[in-house]
């Protein structure tokens, strides 16, 4: 029951950790470059989720000035993550552009097939 209570109190953070692990696992185990990029994206998104969860203040409202509100959520992590999302989009764009180039020169986006092409090119 202790574990369940701990999970309940930090459900979003646990979710972020699970996503983080899924993303890293995909990046490390898949040999298809597109799948690797998908894994990387999940990994980064998990971190964004973690930041957003930190910003939440119990009983706080959206950080817009309002006469009735006394407690606001922390807007700073939201702004940080907007920047990080831009970075992540740029990374994805570059990764996909590289994959296009790799596909053009290797005719494949599978790592083992690319390795085979490099091997035969050396001989």
């Amino acid at each position: 029951m202790d574990i369940l209570a701990a999970v309940d109190a930090h459900a979003v953070q646990w979710g972020a950790i699970v996503l983080l692990m899924i993303g890293l696992y995909i990046v490390m185990t898949r040999h298809n470059l597109i799948k690797k990029v998908v894994g990387l994206n999940i990994f980064q998104t998990a971190v964004f989720l973690f930041y957003i969860s930190v910003a939440w203040v119990r009983e706080g409202t959206a950080p817009i000035v309002d006469e009735d509100a006394e407690l606001y959520s922390n807007p700073l992590p939201h702004v940080l993550i907007l920047t990080a999302i831009v970075v992540s989009v740029a990374t994805m764009a570059l990764a996909l552009a590289l994959i296009v180039r790799i596909r053009e020169s290797y005719g494949s986006i599978e790592e083992d097939e690319m390795a085979r092409v490099d091997e035969s090119g050396r001989r």
Binding site: V27, L33, L40, Q44, V54, V87, T91, L98, R101, I102
Partner: protein, 493 residues
């Protein structure tokens, strides 16, 4: 506010604005003189900043006039002033060589954007070094990293794109780990300003999030820094990237990783927390030594000399990591000196590769046969910088090794000193293999047309090699600045 007061902002703004202007100028013929000017102006700013810091102590610059903690603050102390000089100096020396280098080593369709991306990488690295805000550091890290991946992918060999993709995957994981660490530290302190964070972290040292924050940042910076066994991205990236890119990154990219590590360990988290609570010396020293031995041994077996130099970098990074891990004054001084000195030597050695590739098209062992007679100046540079890599007296390598060994002995780590000397002896083998091929074997027939590379490529090589010897004899600047930097970081002799 005079212009001099705005130097910290200009340090980053000049290359950052120069980059899109280069793209607008288009043709390399127009953009290249402009990029050279930008690099030299940036270098001049870095020297002015170093002079001001040495004369008047750390500079605090508030971006846009916002008070610190609310706004982004740039803080320049002797440590990052030295890193700024190294990074911008390397750009200033290498940029003149780019005009000829890109014709040989950059894929045709990327040539007109090469200078733009190079200036973006420069701006990113300078931003990392100069900022006093942890999230700003992450953003600049990603700017320089994304530009780095693109630059590596511009190599003519198709394996360059694969190397760039693997670099992107590992680099992004590293940067994201730093982002997680920054988030955890922010969670516990509510601030992103390094100085403010340092004071607030002191009261939260025994909490799990703060300890996890340092662990994440250690791993993230370790990947950028290419500490063994997180070095996997480096050999392929440096082998297939255009040699001038390898020269610039070999001299600066891993050094920026070292800077991030030193800054977080000593300035943000503090030496007491990092060493007494987290025991990072138990990670850095063994991994550093393993990398020093592994890198040197693997370098001996390489046929492509750029790959050999990359593995040699794995070894040199190992020295720096171990020196950071000593946790004493001499160790920190050794790490800072070696960051600077190794930048000079690796820059010079990779520029030699650029010269050889310009004439011969490749840099494997066979193409170095008899090269001592055909390209005497280039090979002379290789020998001088190579001796420095080994650590022969009167070169910068010796100064580094001296402090690395005395630091280890002072920390009571005798075996470490032995391993460092042993690893340096292995460096003798891989440098000697090249010297033997260049001076003691007959050149292959039919290569009579091979001559020295043009002056714009040769001059930067000679300049960096000369600096390897100048700073090996006149040690006052590097050792003095490194000593002051260690003092500012709170590690007294």
């Amino acid at each position: 506010m005079t212009l001099v007061d705005q130097l910290p902002a200009l340090q980053v703004a000049v290359p950052l604005i120069g980059a899109p202007l280069c793209a607008l100028l288009g043709r390399p013929r127009l953009a290249w003189p402009f990029a050279v000017a930008v690099a030299w102006i940036t270098f001049a700013i870095a020297i002015a900043l170093l002079a001001r810091v040495l004369a008047g102590g750390p500079i605090h610059y508030t971006m846009g006039g916002w008070p610190p903690v609310l706004g982004i603050e740039y803080v320049i102390d002797p440590l990052n002033a030295l890193v700024l000089v190294l990074v911008s100096g390397m750009a200033a020396v290498i940029m003149p060589a780019v005009r000829l280098g890109i014709d040989v080593e950059v894929v045709h369709r990327a040539r007109h954007l090469f200078l733009t991306v190079a200036l973006l990488a420069l701006a990113g690295m300078l931003g990392i070094a100069i900022t006093g805000d942890v999230f700003n550091l992450y953003v600049f890290l990603e700017i320089s990293s994304l530009a780095s991946y693109a630059l590596v992918a511009m190599g003519v060999d198709r394996r360059a794109t694969r190397a760039a993709f693997n670099y992107l995957i590992l680099g992004t994981i590293g940067a994201t780990f730093i982002l997680i660490g920054v988030g955890l530290a922010y969670m516990m302190t509510g601030t992103l300003n390094m100085g403010d964070m340092a004071t607030r972290l002191a009261g939260a040292a025994d909490t799990a999030p703060v300890q996890a924050a340092l662990a994440f940042i250690l791993v993230g910076a370790g990947i950028k820094f290419a500490i063994f066994p997180a070095h996997a991205w480096m050999p392929n990236a440096y082998t297939y990237a255009p040699s001038l890119v390898s020269a610039f990154f070999g001299a600066t990219a891993t050094k920026i990783g070292a800077y991030i590590l030193i800054r977080f360990v000593y300035s943000v988290f503090g030496a007491d927390f990092s060493f007494d609570v987290m025991k990072i010396d138990w990670v850095l020293v063994p991994l550093g030594l393993a990398g020093a031995v592994f890198g040197s041994i693997v370098a001996v077996w390489q046929d492509d000399l750029r790959r050999m130099l990359a593995y040699s970098s794995v070894a040199q990074v190992g020295y720096i990591a171990a020196a950071i891990g000593y946790g004493n004054h001499d160790g920190l001084v050794a790490a800072i000196i070696h960051v600077f000195n190794h930048g000079l030597m690796k820059g010079a050695l990779f520029l030699v590769m650029a010269c050889v590739i310009f004439r011969l098209g490749k840099a494997d062992m066979a193409s170095f046969r008899g090269l001592g007679r055909r390209m005497p100046v280039t090979m002379g540079c290789f020998v001088a910088a190579g001796l420095s890599m080994i650590g022969v007296p009167a070169t910068v390598g010796f100064i580094s090794k001296w402090y690395l060994v005395t630091g280890a002995i002072e920390a009571g780590l005798w075996p470490v000193a032995v391993v460092i000397v042993a690893s340096s002896l292995i460096a003798v083998i891989y440098i000697w293999r090249v010297v033997e091929a260049a001076y003691f074997t007959e050149p292959p027939p039919g290569g009579d047309a091979v001559a020295e590379a043009p002056a714009t490529l040769l001059a930067p090589t000679v300049v960096l090699t000369a600096l390897c010897i100048v700073f090996g004899l006149a040690t006052g600047l590097t050792v003095g600045v490194a000593g002051e930097a260690a003092g500012v970081l709170g590690v007294a002799p």
